[in-house]
Amino acid sequence: MSDLEVKTVVEADRAVVTLDGTCDLRSHDVLAAALRSALDVATVVVVDLARVHFLDSSNLRALVSAHLAARQDAKNVHVINAAGSVAAMLEITGVIALLAPPAERSQVGIPRAAENPDG
């Protein structure tokens, strides 16, 4: 079973999807389905990653795919509160530029040596 808990709260046209747990291969389908159904009812979907301690590339792709799909319908998917390894994952792949909230997006840009894990 997936170790990911997904809670979606919809207010007006804004849905907040709160993830709690591990985003690995087993949770990929759960996440993709949650994002799809959130997009069905809201135009802005905010994914709260505060309680996610692991996010692998398949889940990252689920987030990006949802973002791209939303953009085609003039909707928006973005993430907030990414921390630790999840933030590193978003930054290494550069997709934080895509998934950051619209207000921050211009400042984020493409991370340039944002973090050197090498120390």
């Binding site: 079973m1 591990t22 692998d56 390894s85 290494i92 792949t93 895509l98 894990p117």
Partner: protein, 733 residues
């Protein structure tokens, strides 16, 4: 009464006991004659013959004999009872003219009772079930003695001129009390389930008799109620047989005591008939009260039993649902076996294991779950198929292996006996996992600490699990074969590292993922680009198996073509991004591309969402974090690139996420460890570095995702190139 058995009386409804092993007719008849004769004599001698109102125990003897025998024997039993009645009556000086009336009364009565009861309760009479008890009371205690009482009273009226109503009442009360005490007792003993409790019953009877003697001894102090708490306590705590035996002892003792002039009834200044009538009423009321209590207790126990059975069933159903969901996600034999021991088995048994037949069909891989799911101890053990174990036996024979006692187990598997003893295994069942056409796939074993823990429920559940597992395993085998084919294809699509590249030495490796995980289309490439430069690429395509492999092949050739015209890595990736629109399944692919000029030692690199290359020099290892941009197909414009002069002899390691993505570990942490490993290694010769880092990344396990690793050592222009030929690619050892 313990919950481990559904109370005395059982929940089974078997055929009438007459059809079980019938005892010889002569024995039944002899028993009837002896007990009937004794009871009737007791009525005359012990309970006071002069009054007709006595406790007539033989009424219960005949009725019990009828109820416990097949109908063809009934005439003989009735004949024996009648003959005994006549003999006893004659011996006590009754007129031969009228004894036939009493004989008729005492045969018609049990016959009516037995016929009526059999009509409503055709199977075993469970005296702890309300319906059966009610039928017994109405038909045998009520209706039968009414008939007997009518005939008897008529006979008395004709012979002695006694008034019919009074004689009837007395006759009925005496016979009804006899049926209740003796008949109830015998039926409880013969139709009850569970262990016989002879010693306990004898003790209880003694206790009840003693309480009755004490209660009936002092003429002035009223203590006659003493047997009541004793009988109620027995009814509450003991099987019905014990309580009813004690009730019979109380009845007999109270009647004996009264006719011997003891107790409150003997002291009453009224007619004998009123005395004995009220005494029987008191006794039957007491016994019925205790009996009702026993029924209540039995119903409570049954309800609890039902609840616990229901609860166990619910837990199993829940486990099945979880397991079904898990099996749906489990793609490989390993993950299936793990899911079974994790979810399926803990709820069923104290110990359990699952085994899967190896592809070569010569051994079994066994996964063990010790105890409940929270202290799951999983380990993978291999045993040859010809070893003597429950698993191999079940697989070889295709049948369930059941051993219900430790002795049985030790005899069947002497070499495993010690292990079973240490664990405290009392009983086991092992069921084979087979395909629809009977081919063996593996086995499931369940162990219990108690002996005889394997009942039909357990076997049914185990077989259900085995069926579920069979379907999943079959699917996994097909999937594993397909995956294998996909991996081979992908391996074939990876480039042959051509020789003749001046200024670098290169080595690469590709490791397919553990088949439980998705397979991406990972690739690497090294090729010459104009201006004497060398271009190299590492990429990762999203998706599964064949589609991803195809996308990877197309992206790879597109990149080679574009790199021939675009001036630098950033422009290569820009054009590559545009070209990828035409390539299915390429969106979200990540690519790292670099070119190296051996003449100047300059490395230029750009990463489209790809992990940064790792530079390994004499001073250590560091990631190159410049030149980052979004993955392919996400609308990135004007990609960046980084530049770095490569010191002579430095090496560059470029890889895909399989090397640094570890479940539950921050990717930054794993990357740091990889850099440490590369820096400490000291080796910069590509082949050795490749091997070292793969070993560091994977350890002894298979990697969780497809992994590509490309190691390039920059030897600079003056050195001759020793490029690794295609055939020399280190194989996944």
């Amino acid at each position: 009464m313990s919950l481990s058995e559904p109370a005395n009386g059982g929940l089974r409804s078997d055929s009438p006991s007459g059809s079980e092993r019938p005892r010889p007719l002569w024995l039944i008849l002899a028993l009837v004659v002896v007990t009937y004769g004794t009871g009737a004599s007791l009525a005359f001698l012990g309970f006071g013959a002069q009054s007709i109102v006595v406790l007539f125990l033989p009424a219960g003897v005949t009725l019990s004999a009828l109820l416990l025998s097949p109908r063809r024997r009934w005439p003989w039993i009735l004949l024996a009872a009648a003959a005994t009645e006549v003999a006893v009556d004659l011996s006590h000086g009754l007129s031969p003219r009228w004894v036939w009336g009493f004989a008729l009364a005492n045969t018609a009565e049990p016959l009516v009772g037995a016929l009526l009861l059999r009509r409503y309760v055709p199977a075993k009479v469970n005296l702890l079930r309300r319906r059966d008890l009610l039928a017994f009371l109405v038909c045998c205690v009520g209706a039968g003695p009414v008939v007997g009482g009518l005939i008897g009273a008529t006979t008395l009226a004709l012979s002695a001129g006694l008034p019919v109503p009074r004689s009837f009442l007395s006759f009925w009360a005496g016979d009804a009390a006899g049926v209740l005490t003796v008949g109830g007792c015998v039926l409880a003993w013969r139709h009850g389930a569970g262990r016989p409790v002879v010693a306990r019953a004898a003790l209880a009877a003694g206790l009840a008799a003693a309480a009755t003697v004490i209660g009936f001894w002092p003429p002035q102090v009223p203590l006659f109620y003493l047997p009541i708490p004793v009988l109620f306590w027995l009814a509450f705590s003991q099987p019905l047989t014990v309580a009813l035996t004690a009730g019979a002892a109380t009845t007999v003792t109270a009647n004996l005591m009264t006719s011997a002039g003891h107790g409150p009834w003997a002291a009453l200044n009224t007619s004998d008939q009123v005395i004995t009538l009220t005494l029987q009423v008191f006794l039957t009321t007491t016994i019925l009260g205790a009996w009702a209590l026993a029924v209540g207790v039995a119903e409570r126990d049954r309800a609890r039993w039902d609840t616990s059975v229901e609860r166990a069933a619910r837990l199993r159903l829940n486990a099945l649902q979880i397991l079904t969901a898990d099996l749906a996600q489990a793609a490989t034999s390993t993950s299936i076996a793990e899911a079974i021991v994790r979810e399926g088995v803990g709820l069923l048994a104290d110990y359990s294991s699952a085994s899967v037949v190896s592809p070569a069909e010569d051994e079994l891989a066994v996964w063990t779950a010790a105890g409940r799911r929270d202290d799951l101890a999983e380990r993978n053990r291999r045993i040859p198929l010809d070893a003597a174990t429950p698993h191999t036996d079940a697989v070889r024979t295709g049948r369930a292996v059941v051993h219900q006692t430790p002795a049985d187990l030790a005899a069947a598997y002497p070499r495993l006996a010690d292990g079973y003893r240490t664990l405290g295994v009392g009983s086991i069942v092992c069921v084979p996992i087979r395909t629809a056409d009977g081919a063996p796939l593996g086995a499931l074993a369940f162990g219990f600490q108690r002996e005889h823990g394997v009942d039909s429920d357990v076997i049914t559940f185990a077989e259900t699990l085995a069926n579920l597992s069979a379907q999943a395993l079959r699917r996994a085998q097909i999937y594993e074969r397909e995956l294998d084919a996909a991996h081979q294809l992908q391996q074939a699509l990876l480039p042959a590292l051509s020789g003749g590249l001046v200024g670098i030495r290169v080595s690469a490796d590709y490791r397919p993922a553990d088949v439980a995980h998705q397979v991406g289309g990972d690739w690497y490439d090294v090729f010459p680009v104009p201006g004497g430069r060398i271009g190299f690429a590492v990429g990762d395509v999203v998706g599964h198996s064949l589609a991803a492999a195809a996308a990877m092949a197309r992206l790879q050739s597109a990149l080679r073509v574009i790199a021939q015209t675009a001036p630098d890595p950033a422009r290569v990736l820009d054009e590559f991004d545009r070209a990828s629109v035409l390539i299915a399944d390429s969106r979200m692919a990540t690519v790292g591309f670099a070119d190296y000029d051996p003449a100047t030692g300059l490395l230029r690199y750009a990463c489209a969402g790809h992990l940064p290359p790792l530079l390994v020099t004499e001073g250590g290892a560091e990631y190159l974090w410049e030149g980052r941009s979004l993955p392919i197909g996400l609308g990135q414009r004007q990609r960046q690139q980084g530049e770095r002069l490569m010191p002579h002899g430095a090496a560059l390691v470029w890889y895909t996420d399989g090397l640094v993505e570890r479940h539950g570990q921050p990717v930054t942490e794993v990357m740091r460890r990889l850099a440490d490993a590369a820096g400490r290694c000291g080796e910069r010769e590509p082949e050795g570095l490749c091997r070292h880092l793969l070993r560091h990344g994977a350890g002894a396990q298979v990697l969780g995702d497809d992994t590509v690793i490309l190691c390039i050592q920059f030897t600079g222009a003056p050195y001759p190139t020793v490029a690794t030929a295609a055939g020399d690619l280190p194989a996944g050892d």
